[in-house]
């Protein structure tokens, strides 16, 4: 039998939110971010009957430490929903099913929105800032600022919506931001990239036509190579090869 969950104080919410920022530190191949989920939800579990160290608290903490794998930012939705479910004394089988079923969709939505859309867009905005003549410090600050505004907003929204909707949180994922957002952000990124790349190229090469030709040629060749090898070569290998080429070129041209 479920009961009404006790209210979650602002202090507890802040503590849970702060702990959510450490989620990726718990990553391991056996439980993935399961331990991080338990660490984040722990302040809320203190409200269970018996309090901290009680039987219900220990059982819930052990339950939440098991395998869990989702996008680290959208895992906030699961933490909020699971906190409400635990404090409502929800049916344990239903909690287990939710933990199993939430992994995939929260991973899918997060990967599409953040890794495939928001992160590239923020990188291109930083590149645009460079192209417009900003200092290196400003370029880094713009990137970190824009990226973290999005990521923190996503975690705060996730925790709140998870807590308010509990295990019935699926409709919250149907918002236009998640359904159409990735496509829209990708289109915006394409526009920003179209403006940023020529500006960055012009700033890098200065007034030298040869410099423009070399940098533009290397960039175009890299783009063609990425297109041809998409899905067959791991990104870190391509990045490492490009870094080595750039390093050698810098030493030779110096």
């Amino acid at each position: 039998m479920t009961i009404a969950a006790p209210p979650l104080s602002v202090g507890t919410r802040m503590l849970v939110l702060a702990r959510l920022l450490t989620l990726q530190g718990s990553y391991n191949y056996e439980t993935m971010i399961g331990n991080g989920i338990a660490f984040a939800i722990e302040p809320a579990l203190r409200l269970l009957p018996g309090g901290r160290g009680g039987e219900a608290y220990c059982a819930a903490l052990a339950r939440q430490s098991r395998y869990f794998n989702a996008h680290p930012y959208l895992a906030a939705v699961a933490v909020g929903a699971l906190a409400r479910a635990e404090l409502s004394l929800e049916n344990l089988e239903r909690i287990e099913r939710f933990r199993t079923a939430a992994c995939g969709p929260l991973g899918s939505v997060g990967d599409r929105l953040v890794w495939a859309a928001w992160l590239p867009l923020c990188s291109l905005i930083a590149l645009l800032t460079f192209g417009l003549g900003a200092s290196p410090f400003m370029v880094v600050a713009v990137f970190l600022g824009t990226y973290n505004v999005g990521h923190l907003a996503l975690r705060i929204w996730g925790l709140n919506v998870g807590w308010s909707d509990g295990l019935a949180v699926a409709p919250a994922l149907s918002t236009p931001l998640f359904r159409r957002g990735p496509l829209m952000l990708t289109r915006v990124a394409a526009v920003v990239g179209g403006v940023a790349i020529p500006l960055a190229l012009a700033r890098s090469a200065g007034a030298s036509p040869l410099g423009v030709f070399i940098i533009g040629g290397v960039g175009a060749a890299g783009a063609v190579m990425l297109g041809l090898t998409q899905g067959r070569v791991q990104g870190w290998r391509v990045s490492l090869a490009l870094l080595i080429v750039a390093g050698v070129a810098a030493m030779v041209l110096r």
Binding site: C103, L106, G107, S108, D111, W115, A170, P171
Partner: protein, 162 residues
Amino acid sequence: MPIECFRVDDRLVHGQVVVGWGQSLRLGFIVLVDDTVAANDWECELYSMGTPPEMTLFVETTDSVVLRLPEFDARADAGMLLTADIPTMGRLVQSAPRIRAVNIGGVHHRIGRTWRLPYVFLSPEDDAALAAIASCGVRVTAQDLPGADEVPLEALLSGGPA
């Protein structure tokens, strides 16, 4: 266009599937085969929210999917079929001889399972189920993402690649 990939992945619809494989294979639809998910509306809704709007999700039971495989194979777009566990895929292989290759994309840790790859942990029962699938002439490999190396079944069963 036939279903391009038959995958065992306990996360079912997730980022590697819709972003990694989805872009590489240009997937237009996903067939999720799981009797428990198919019986729960809220789980179906959750998985449909995780599917990009440009892809269609079909949630089927182990029995219903066998009847609908010809329909899926006749579609104009590419598809992927997902099961959460090896025994379910084994039953499909027995019922649908047209399955010639199975991809192990994610079988994660539980008590009784041992490490084979970072994304594959297998129990002795899982080993036997995979061997049974292979004995039907099906090519079984492990590969989490399109850009990763394929790991053959022999390496999985012998405790993981050296």
